[in-house]
């Protein structure tokens, strides 16, 4: 089945530093979604990208979808303690409703 790899698995940053997580697939993705899971919480949808080379921003968060639609990244500028959590990428398997999730990147922000 479709596999989506995500790196790094863990990242500790000093508050104010930038953070990036990467999502890679061996096959072309129809779309990419990003979710955030706060400690003790459940995944919450952040954004979806569908076009090749697409870039979207949400305040300090920048999301990119690769030109070949096989990779994506989430970049956080000047991290804050509220950014703590696990970030997951996810993608639909072609025309099906099934969504495959990446392994997640757990972000710790040191005040």
């Amino acid at each position: 089945g479709q596999q989506v790899m995500q790196i790094p698995q863990y990242q500790h940053v000093q508050e104010g530093e930038d953070f990036t997580t990467y999502c890679n697939s061996s096959t072309t993705l129809s779309n990419i979604q990003w979710y955030k899971q706060r400690p003790g919480g459940h995944p919450v949808f952040l954004i979806q990208l569908v076009k090749s080379g697409e870039v979207k921003k949400q305040k300090r968060l920048t999301f990119q979808f690769g030109e070949a639609k096989k990779n994506s990244s989430l970049h956080i500028t000047a991290t804050q303690t509220t950014d703590v959590g696990t970030y997951f990428c996810a993608s639909n398997s072609g025309g099906y409703q099934k969504v495959t999730f990446g392994t997640g990147t757990k972000l710790q922000v040191i005040p």
Binding site: G1, N31, Q33, Y35, P43, Q48, A90, N92, Q97, V99
Partner: protein, 114 residues
């Protein structure tokens, strides 16, 4: 707001017991999903359903079954619980109107099998 609820936040069962995890969504969504979440493995799909009485195996269906008798309710069943099924179980739903649906998650059930 979409609301997905799960019957229990925490559950402790013994090996060999039959376990039912219930999930209910209130937004008339077509699709419902069961995942388990384990450290370092992310979210792995167990089963999903795109309509009442319909079900599809996910990536790790072994040891699990599901039931969807009503649109709003999707149950995960562990016929004979084993210790390797100790995990966080997350239910999700999506509208089913396109191939780019957002998933809405419930709060999760942390199951411990002794």
């Amino acid at each position: 707001d979409v609301k997905v609820t799960q019957s229990s936040r925490y559950l402790v069962k013994r090996t060999g017991e039959k376990v039912f995890l219930e999930c209910v969504q209130d937004m008339d969504h077509e699709n419902m999903f069961w995942y388990r979440q384990d450290p370092g493995l992310g979210l792995r799909l167990i089963y999903f359903s795109y309509d009442v009485k319909m079900k599809e195996k996910g990536d790790i269906p072994e040891g699990y079954s599901v039931s969807r008798e009503k649109k709003e309710r999707f149950s995960l069943i562990l016929e004979s619980a084993s210790t390797n099924q100790t995990s966080m179980y997350l239910c999700a739903s999506s509208t089913g109107t396109s191939g780019t649906d957002t998933q809405y998650f419930g709060p999760g059930t942390r199951l411990t099998v002794l």
